[in-house]
Symmetry: C2
């Protein structure tokens, strides 16, 4: 790869980060929030200062052409991007680093690593872009059953192998990063149009393994819907499903592997359904007096059968934090797109739904058609979109400043939404105050919408204390997760389960489904090498 | 139930059937097709003339309030509605009749029957409306592992328990038949809008267990999409999934049970996503010079993001057989519906797609808005719709006349469709001639469409010979199924697998997926009582 390498700590590639202006803006919001002029900030150790444990196994000669135990590779594969990941990394705790990292170039090399892991009693951690925020890519050993840890980084499986323009589908290797995937498809006039926040630093295989949520706010919300067929390399053998537009032949084999988070096998490639590049766009920002009024408009739009590509709402505080609003109003970012037809009628009806609930469109409504098509890049919508993409860069300096900022997301049916929102928000606010002694902030937006309910996404901000950050974060996380599970939500709408969400996932999923999943895993991964502790225990 | 009871042989309830005019029309088409003035017709034995085997077990006292071994009940649960089912039934072969039929009134009674079956070494066959066309409801015993056969008919679980109008969802018991389900929802202003051909004589639980295909030709093609959560009673215990509009927490638990065809447990109820009753409709019939030209228009519409509720095409022979066309043109039945907004723009764009491929709208295009809204009930569209609903009644007199008529359905990506169609059609025609010595007919339509491919539905017509009917049918079925599996299709898009499709399903599904499914079944149904031989062998 010609790009700069990924940071071992922080977001994105080496040399990237927020500009001074962006950083100042973000910090100023936190200073204001917590009434502080400055923060007690620690220095994050550099790569060369890290004390990595001695590898428990060495790379065997047969794998040496694509495996390495170099310092950088081990450090860069020790963690995902969860809050406790950041804290441990900024304190130089790299005890969980893998013994070596494999970069297989084909399926045979994946199988060869599995054979080695089986014989060495090593665990195997599939790794896409490493953007997991739920403890999904941290290597595990226990010294008893699992004596060593190997990470399998799929980045060398990075090609669009074949494009079927007639059916609008492509065979894509699982290690392909978002930008490369889009660049390769663009040549053919297509797009996957799956743009999670992690888009630049995550891979197709990771998206499928974690049921990633993407660009479309409605209809095609998860990557699930775009999967036409899969190839999965399991320790026991290869699973390949048939390319079909639809089928009713037994339980869907694809759906067993979509969301399996690497515990059943390693996705090597997939036939994916593509979208045309949009020729028509209509976008608008709409203001509402309150988040719940905006939510009722969202419900009307979701139940109208209009299928907007964007229909996200920000509560007043969330809009303020990203400079998309002044803190007095909730904002809806509304957009339609099509490769086929103009969208005036669609947008017109959606704006009527907004007006029914007191929504007023931002000035753009006075503008002509041309401006309207770029409205998703302008005004509150554009400001929020930029903040959304840049946000992950803030953590690498916020965490050393002792600021605990994290997000959690869920879904709930409309009948329970308002009560659910209030309970979860209050429980999280209470936990922040109890854990840190300082009043924090909890904000909410919708990321995806359905006719039967929204996917609310909460952000929280707390002023932590160095030395207690993980404990403080855990207390807040526990309270928030307890509240949302008790009130009927899902522990994750698109961030996945990993290990961090296990206590609540275990309450959510039917016990006999876990029993069935364990039985399936025993067949596909008899030694249990793949991601132990993720989703299930054996 | 106050309705007449279901026929033990034939379609629907006792007293129902085709009128003399309908029967004459259908027979005249076959006389013309095969150049015959009359058919060699046998008499189907009445219920009282059947020799049912002596029950191998008797109803235990503890179950006697809801179980029976009456002649009618055993005979009416011996078969589904597949072609070989009809032939065996019309010859009075009822060897496979269950020893008794249970009509549980709640989940406790389902569990009680499972307990009995476990202790008696009996198989348990879940039974909804009995409309299976693939050997999915025939009781099985082998005298070794399985010593007796009990059928579990869910018809007493027939209520809409709760309606959540805000989220547009309802909790519905699994044994609810289509018409009752719609009648109970209508009171609340809602509809499930799932209208398979078997609608009147099939149940919600059956639809979910077999991944039934319904009303919507695009977008919400399978019942799968309407399932918000499920309750399943397995021999090992109860599985209940959480009501969620969307989730990314591990592989979907619902998707393991959707399409499981009763081998993992018995669906007792489900929260289902509802539709508003349509306020706006736009419909049209469009003629094309050929089936492939019509198919290309369908592809354009499917890829345009318009989501018609109907977009079915009939090849010229299929149109002729149902009197929807004169045999010279292919017909598209096109419709949009909405509870929210007028559909002129949607229909207008879809008709442009048709015109691009030479499609010309039937006269209705000159009519006003009011007529247009009823266009799905008029002209070729209406004629075909009526034939579609009435067709199943024809079999009960066609089969005794020695006519082999059956259907099979599949799905394939667009890039392979035309070649696929020709190969499957030719293989089936060849097999008919070889098996019967008489040229038959194979016609095709689309039932459902996707951006990446259609779901073609084939009908075939052959003149069989009494005494050889099943063998002749099997030779045709084998050739057709071989051809469609070899050419890349699925053995079923929405008819399910049952036992009849096993040889091809076994070639289609990944071997390791079957291994995983067997492992899951061993956990949920340790004695293997549920539907042995359906989907998998143990």
């Amino acid at each position: 790869m010609t790009d700069a390498r990924l940071k071992h700590y922080g977001w994105g590639r080496e040399g990237e980060g927020m500009s001074t202006e962006e950083r100042d803006f973000v910090l100023s919001r936190y200073k204001q929030k917590f009434g502080r002029a400055a923060f007690d900030t620690i220095v994050v150790p550099g790569l060369e200062d890290l004390a990595l444990p001695t590898p428990r196994v060495t790379v065997p000669a047969s794998l040496s052409r694509f495996c390495t135990s170099e310092r950088y590779d081990r450090a860069a594969h020790a963690y995902g991007k969860s809050y406790p990941d950041y804290v441990r990394a900024m304190h130089g705790d790299y005890l969980c680093a893998p013994d070596f990292v494999a970069y297989p170039r084909d399926e045979k090399e994946i199988s060869a690593v599995m054979d080695f892991a089986g014989s060495a009693g090593a665990t195997l951690t599939p790794f896409g872009g490493g953007s997991s925020v739920c403890g999904g890519v941290e290597p595990r050993v226990d010294g008893i059953r699992y004596k060593a840890a190997v990470t399998l980084d799929l980045r060398n499986l990075n090609k669009v192998v074949e494009v079927d323009a007639t059916s609008r589908a492509a065979l894509i290797e699982a290690g392909t990063y978002g930008p490369s995937l889009e660049a390769q498809l663009k040549v053919h006039g297509f797009s996957l149009r799956h743009f999670p926040q992690s888009f630049e630093y995550s891979t197709l295989g990771g998206w499928i393994a974690t049921r990633s949520g993407g660009h479309f706010a409605s209809l095609y919300t998860h990557i699930d819907d775009f999967v036409e067929s899969l190839r999965v390399i399991a320790p026991r053998g290869v699973v390949e499903t048939r390319r079909l537009p639809g089928s009713g032949a037994g339980p869907s084999p694809d759906r067993l592997f979509i969301g399996s988070e690497g515990i059943l096998g390693v996705i090597s490639c997939a036939w994916m359904r593509l979208q045309p590049r949009p020729k028509f766009r209509a976008g608008a920002s709409v203001r509402f007096a309150s988040f719940f009024k905006a939510a009722r408009a969202v419900r009307a739009i979701a139940q109208a059968g209009l299928y907007p590509s964007n229909c996200r709402i920000l509560d007043p505080a969330e809009a303020y934090n990203t400079a998309a609003g002044d803190g007095s109003v909730a904002i809806m970012v509304l957009a339609f797109e099509s490769g086929d037809h103009p969208l005036g009628v669609w947008m017109g009806r959606a704006l009527e739904c907004c007006a029914d609930h007191g929504g007023s469109r931002e000035q753009a409504q006075e503008q002509g058609q041309e401006q309207e098509q770029d409205a998703h890049l302008a005004g509150a919508a554009g400001i929020w979109r930029n903040a959304f993409i840049r946000m992950p860069y803030a953590r690498e300096f916020l965490n050393p400043a002792g600021i605990i900022n994290d997000t959690f997301e869920t879904a709930i049916t409309w009948d329970r939404f308002e009560d659910f929102h209030d309970k979860v928000k209050a429980a999280t606010e209470r936990a922040i105050l109890q854990a840190t002694g300082v009043r924090g902030e909890v904000t909410c937006r919708f990321t995806h919408i359905y006719p039967d309910g929204p996917a609310p996404y909460f952000s929280f901000h707390a002023l932590g204390r160095h030395g207690a950050l993980i404990k403080q974060w855990q207390a807040i996380k526990d309270a928030a997760s307890d509240a949302l599970i008790e009130a009927g939500g899902t522990i994750t709408h698109h961030h996945a389960v990993g290990r961090d969400h296990r206590p609540w996932y275990d309450r959510q999923r039917p016990e006999l489904f876990a029993t069935a999943l364990r039985a399936a895993k025993r067949e596909l991964d008899p030694t249990g090498m793949l991601n132990p502790g993720v989703l299930i225990d054996l």
